[in-house]
């Protein structure tokens, strides 16, 4: 059934007219239609605080979380001892850096070959030589503890959701909200329950990284081919045998992709957890950025990037590795050669480290540093491009950012709501219109309207600029396959960086202001646009392009009339991600000094105000959810229209 397009667009037009009327008739409007009036604002924060107070004190949840966090703390102490020699049980650490590097090298070799070996081994050598070992290991020790917890929790919950459709129905909206909540929203309740420090950092990391694991487990279990399951049943498997030996092993690729996502989420969160006193690379970077020490922050940034790429490539290689047989005649030594080589490398490393302390631990004063030269070079670069950046800064602030912000703040909230309803109606009829109204209505009720509009404006302008850069870049890259592959690789790599990293270069170039924030968000948000534009354009069926060429279409005509329309659904997915990414980034960038929801969230974090923090978090989440609903709906309509 097709929806009655004429009538729905008529209604959308009506709503649009209403929005315009409200906007231009602002002077005539009563105050209550311009800003959400006092009586409309609900004390959500107080309600949440009351609920948390109840959970924390009356329900005794505190005892439970404390018990859980004690287990986590004990594990953290063990890994801390092994990795950087914190004086805790088992008191045998720290493991010499050369042994860790050799292990990483062998893991890379076993999973993918020489190149990955060089990357992962090299990363750890770099960390050691640059004298960042302790910070990096502080960060890594949390990941080593948090990732297995998340994987386990995600696996269990994924299996439960697969077993019980009712549980899945309950879980799904929770996951949707959880994946749209900004990082900081997770931190505040954890600070209330656990306090600050590594323990809290680990727990917030666990909570934050579980959702993708649940999703991938569920997906994997649903994708197991029916015949494989039937074969298992016909072999006389019991339900447990079927789950543990047929379904879960067959879903292995998806589950391991879930592990990969968990690890990457952990890294992103661990770096940000520096805001709640998590020591490590993130904290160092935060301090250095706040002190505007560019050279040193670049060094840390490179380390984080290397670590991210290494962890991503290693876990992805594990997920994508196809099983291969050994020669039947192979001896034990031959079959286990990698294990043997690794063990001998470790022993050699341990022995060497006894005699050469440098291989055990690189002292701070022995560390290499390129901060000086970087600073000098950056000074040069900045001196050269300063006129450009200064002009750009002036232009953007005076002619784009401030006028836009003022316009967004000037708009009566009723006009915004009517506009969103119009957009919703145009895309998905009454239901979408109501969803848009419901979501943004909540923001009006929360009392954070002005702050929210600043966030909206930052996201809008950033995504707009990102699209202006990303679309042509994507179209250009998709013109020839090797180039497309190269750019895709760059995009993939860029997506593995924790969002924090993007702030280093922009602060370098623009200093601390709104332009820097927008620039960081633009770069971060352009990546998915480029990526999905290339993917959409490359996946247009070749016979369609051939048909267009045989009809005498020029390259431009083919692009406009065949390739772009066919690629649109995929490109919309990119736009969706782009909006999500920029929402997260705008919130993170708040510490540079924006006046949006993010700044308030930071204040809530420092005053551990759970209610306020969560209200702000939900305000960001509903923006994401609304965009997601609209774009997904649109993309699916397009897909159906194209007959995919």
């Amino acid at each position: 059934m097709t929806r009655p397009a004429a009538r729905s667009s008529g209604m959308a037009g009506l709503l649009l007219a209403l929005a315009l009327f409200l906007a231009f008739g602002k002077l005539l409007l009563p105050e209550g239609l311009i800003r959400p009036p006092e009586w409309l604002v609900q004390p959500f924060a107080d309600w949440i605080n009351a609920a948390f107070y109840f959970l924390q004190n009356d329900l005794g949840l505190m005892a439970l979380t404390r018990a859980f966090s004690d287990v986590v703390e004990w594990l953290l102490d063990v890994t801390a001892n092994l990795l950087y020699g914190k004086s805790r049980w088992p008191d045998i650490g720290p493991i010499p850096w050369i042994v860790v590097a050799a292990t990483a090298f062998m893991a890379g070799y076993a999973l993918k070959g020489w190149r990955l070996a060089a990357l992962s081994g090299g990363t750890f050598v770099w960390i050691a030589l640059m004298g960042q070992w302790k910070w990096a290991m502080e960060t890594l020790s949390v990941i080593v503890v948090a990732a297995p917890f998340s994987v386990f929790l995600g696996l269990v919950m994924g299996v439960l959701a697969w077993r019980s459709p009712r549980f899945e129905r309950i879980l799904n909206p929770i996951l949707n909200i959880a994946q749209s909540l900004p990082h900081f929203a997770y931190m505040i309740p954890v600070v209330v329950f656990i306090g600050v420090g590594p323990k809290a950092g680990a727990i917030v990391t666990i909570i934050f990284s579980v959702p993708p694991m649940i999703r991938m487990t569920l997906l994997g279990l649903k994708r197991v081919p029916e015949e494989v399951i039937e074969a298992g049943k016909m072999a006389g498997s019991t339900r447990w045998q079927l789950l543990s030996r047929v379904r879960i092993p067959t879903a292995r690729p998806e589950i391991l992709i879930g592990v990969n996502q968990v690890i990457m989420q952990c890294l992103a969160m661990v770096v940000l957890a520096s805001f709640i006193g998590m020591p490590g690379l993130g904290q160092k970077l935060l301090q250095l950025l706040q002190a505007l020490k560019i050279g040193l922050s670049v060094e840390i940034g490179v380390t984080i990037v290397l670590l991210a790429v290494t962890l991503d490539r290693l876990s992805k290689a594990w997920a994508l590795r196809l099983p291969e047989h050994d020669e039947p005649s192979a001896r034990w030594l031959h079959r286990n050669r990698l294990l043997v080589i690794w063990l001998s490398l470790c022993i050699a490393g341990l022995v060497l480290a006894q005699f050469v302390p440098y291989l055990h631990e690189v002292e701070r004063k022995q560390a290499l540093s390129v901060a000086g030269p970087i600073d000098a070079a950056m000074d040069q670069v900045i001196r050269v491009i300063a006129p450009v950046t200064a002009w750009l800064r002036w232009f953007l602030i005076t002619w784009v950012l401030i006028p836009m912000r003022d316009a967004y703040l000037w708009l009566p909230f009723t006009a915004v709501l009517a506009l969103l309803a119009a957009v919703g109606w145009a895309i998905g009829g009454l239901r979408s219109a109501l969803i848009c109204l419901g979501y943004f209505g909540l923001i009006a009720l929360s009392g954070w309207w002005d702050r929210a509009m600043i966030t909206v404006y930052m996201v809008n302008i950033s995504v707009l600029i990102a699209a202006l850069i990303g679309l042509p870049l994507g179209i250009w890259a998709a013109r020839n396959p090797p180039r497309a592959a190269r750019i895709l690789l760059i995009c993939d790599t860029a997506q593995t960086f924790p969002s924090f990293i993007y702030l280093i270069p922009v602060i370098m170039l623009f200093g601390v202001n709104d332009v820097a924030v927008v620039a960081a968000v633009v770069v971060f948000a352009a990546v998915p646009i480029v990526r999905y534009t290339i993917e959409g354009l490359s996946n247009v069926p070749p016979e369609l392009i051939e048909a267009a060429e045989m009809s005498g279409a020029t390259r431009r005509q083919t692009l406009w009339h065949v390739r772009l329309p066919m690629a649109l659904p995929t490109m919309l997915v990119g736009a969706n991600q782009s909006v999500m990414f920029s929402l997260f980034m705008v919130i993170i960038a708040a510490f540079i000094g924006t006046q949006d929801l993010g700044q308030e969230m930071q204040r809530a974090l420092s005053s551990t105000d759970v209610g306020k923090g969560l209200v702000l978090g939900f305000a960001v989440a509903v923006m994401g959810l609304m965009t997601d609903h609209l774009i997904t709906r649109w993309s699916e309509d397009r897909k159906r229209a194209l007959g995919f």
Partner: protein, 341 residues
Amino acid sequence: MGPNVTETVISCRSVSKIFGPDPVGHLARLKADPQTSSVGYVQAVRDVDLDIQRGEMLVVMGLSGSGKSTLVRCLSRLIEITGGSVTIEGQDIASLSETALIDLRRRKMGMVFQSFGLLPHRTVLDNVAFPLEMRGQDRSTRYARAREMLDLVGLKGREGYFPRELSGGQQQRVGIARSLAIEPDIWFLDEPFSALDPLIRREMQDEFLRLKGLLNKTIIFITHDFDEALRLADRIAIMKDGRIEQCDTPDQIVLHPATEYVAKFTAEIDRARVVRAGSLARPLAAVPEGDATAATLTIRDLARHLVADRRAVIPVADAEGKIIGGMDRQEALDVLLGDAK
């Protein structure tokens, strides 16, 4: 034809399978009034009656969507039937508890799948040993048995390979070896060769006939390929829209199609390759002189003989050499030349 002592192994009585929101209610409504609208429901199997004898090879034939795969899954209770009953060796399988059903599968049933259904993370050896592992056999016995099975299907030396490292034909050999590992009495094969290219398919059919000769099993074989059915079957059941149109020996189907649909199927077939002397034999008042011909030979096999032999009625003898009747030469020639009515 068929075994001398007949014993029914599988018996279906008015088996129905309906997919939809309320299958049982819909079946009841259909029973009350056959004109009931079936919008929103799929009647995959309708009112099937079928008896399968021990040691028999029954081929279930039909186009895709005719319900043949669903029927065979009803027989093994991979899916629950909506109405009717399926009994295996006198036991109603719908009444079995989960444990009893698992036990039945562990002892008596093997199944081969169209797209092989191999476990991608296990080696060939571990795949074949899988049903034995489920039964809880210890490692060395199950590996020994699995190796034996791999020898049988000609995959010796590939024990350590993973399914993705094998060709389609080899993968299906693994599937066959796995299904035979527990020495099942009842062997289900769901379009086992459909995913293979024609040359390999032919080779696998020969391989299958060899195995069938070695092992005395009750076999239910599904295919959409009529030639394959004719080549392999003791009996063929032809399905259309969930019903069995006809269930009979290949030559009876070719010579006496029960419905238009079956007739259409058989129209293109070279009958001389299917019809055997035995099925043309009629009782004789007096035995003609001269040599008798074997009942199991096809008319094609007898072509030269038919042209040369001048007798109007040729005697036909069974395997023991006993005369079972006479074949009208003209009728046989009509079959051979393709202008039989």
